[in-house]
């Protein structure tokens, strides 16, 4: 199956073949998007097991409802819409994720990682994202900060900065107006900056 992931076939063709019961096309669609969808779900729900389960549920729903996919949006945004809706609903139900208070237990990371992150965020430093990605503890701080955003703000940040969707695609996935995406993203980044600064104090 892994080699199938490299086969580049237009989504519309795969969707049509999948509609006609072509299991190979279905498999290609899964392989093509499973990592991206899993990653977005994981960044929103912050739990590996839940993310795997939600990704599985997403694809099952996608395949089951593929006959109803009208093609008004791309398959990519349609599938992500299902994934994000499932994940946000799950987060609301479980109540596990949300804007949690900033307590001292989150400040237990070692001084080096905090200093490195502070330096990165400081006005004078030159941005070096590769250095951030290489530091596991630093990433952990960043992820924990992200998790302190509320679900909707976290979703919009993940879709923009991790998945790399443009505003129109985010609006389509979340089912909101373009202006809502702009304001939500603006507040999310502002809050995230504040959270990071508090965590690094």
């Amino acid at each position: 199956m892994p080699e199938a992931a490299n086969i580049s076939i237009d989504d519309a063709v795969l969707v049509e073949q999948c509609r006609q019961g072509d299991s190979a096309a279905m498999e290609r669609l899964i392989i093509k998007y499973q990592n991206r969808i899993y990653n977005v779900i994981l960044k929103i729900c912050a739990n590996i097991d839940d993310a795997a389960e939600l990704t599985q549920e997403t694809f099952v729903k996608v395949i089951e409802n593929i006959a109803e996919f009208e093609g008004r949006s791309s398959f990519y945004t349609w599938a992500f819409r299902i994934a994000v809706n499932l994940t946000l609903n799950y987060c609301q139900r479980s109540g596990r994720i949300g804007f949690r208070s900033l307590d001292t237990e989150d400040n237990e990371h070692n001084g080096q990682a905090r200093r490195q992150l502070k330096e990165f965020l400081s006005d004078d430093s030159s941005p070096d994202p590769a250095a951030v990605a290489a530091n596991k503890e630093l990433c952990e701080i960043a992820i924990k900060s992200l998790m302190k955003l509320d679900d909707e703000q976290r979703a919009v940040v993940v879709l923009r900065d991790i998945e790399g969707m443009n505003y129109a695609e985010i609006a389509n996935v979340l089912g909101v107006e373009l202006g809502t995406v702009k304001s939500r993203l603006s507040r999310a980044r502002s809050n995230l900056r504040e959270i990071l600064e508090i965590m690094l104090q």
Binding site: Y38, N39, A52, T55, L121, P129, R160, K182, S186, L192
Partner: protein, 270 residues
């Protein structure tokens, strides 16, 4: 740099914040980009905020991507297959169960209907046995015996036989002896009346007459009296009026349909 404490300034800041985010994300038009670049070059605060947003974006974007579990695709396929297996046979099974249930229900309905018909038949028979003899007298069963004695047996016998035959009746002659003739007839009351009318002439040659109905004996009866007695006995008594309500005629068979069993016994000497 001045702070903007009023609401208009706040909204303006929010608008600028959104524009800066859109600038960072490359979502501005060419004209908007030029405008933002102009703002940045003239306002150090805005320039600093832009760098903060860029670093925030870079930080999130730099987070390592996590690959899906290797077995995820297989699990999705298995889940889809399991669902398909669960749905289709369950649906088919349900239909089969529905059909079997319908058959079972039909059999039960038929058996119940048969049992009901049987019960109604038995009840009907019981009710008929109890009620019918009272409300519907049997069409048969009126028997009488007319005993005639004469000193001119042969002549009277000949007249009786001819009258019977003329009226198209049939008879049998059980246990006739030398000085006795018997005619066993079965006819309607109307036929009996016609016969009695024909036999009226022989009455003058008879020595004695008797009509026996059950245990009652009517002696020295004329042919007319025989007809009257028979008519009275065949017709049931009319019900008494005990209230203003309309009394229906009792259910009785038509008189002419009552089968009369008349035995004429003629005895005497030649």
């Amino acid at each position: 740099m001045k702070e903007n404490p009023n609401i208009e300034a706040y909204h303006s800041d929010r608008h600028i914040e959104e524009l800066l985010n859109s600038f960072v994300d490359g979502e501005l038009t060419q004209r908007e980009q030029v405008e933002i670049q102009r703002l940045i070059s003239h306002d150090a605060r805005i320039a600093r905020r832009l760098r903060e947003l860029q670093k925030c974006k870079m930080l999130v974007g730099a987070l390592p991507s996590t690959e899906a579990p290797a077995e995820l695709a297989e699990e999705i396929k298995t889940s889809l297959q399991r669902k398909a297996l669960l749905v289709q046979p369950a649906y088919g099974g349900q239909r089969l169960r529905e059909r079997a249930g319908a058959r079972h229900l039909l059999v039960r309905k038929v058996l119940a209907a048969a049992a009901m018909i049987g019960l109604v038949t038995v009840l009907g028979a019981v009710i008929y046995t109890i009620v019918a003899p009272e409300s519907v007298p049997p069409a048969t069963g009126f028997a009488c015996r007319l005993e005639l004695k004469t000193g001119d047996l042969a002549s009277v016998d000949a007249v009786i036989r001819r009258s019977i035959e003329d009226n198209g009746l049939t008879y049998s002659s059980p246990r006739s002896r030398g000085d006795e003739r018997k005619y066993a007839l079965t006819c309607s009351q109307e036929d009996l009346n016609l016969l009695l009318a024909d036999l009226e002439n022989i009455w003058t040659g008879l020595d004695s007459t008797a009509l026996i109905v059950g245990t009652e004996v009517f002696d020295t009866v004329t042919s007319k009296q025989v007809a009257e007695v028979v008519a009275d006995l065949v017709t049931p008594p009319r019900p008494r009026l005990t209230s203003k309500e309309e009394i229906k005629e009792p259910v009785s068979p038509a008189k002419d349909k009552v089968q009369m069993h008349l035995t004429i016994v003629l005895s005497g000497s030649e």
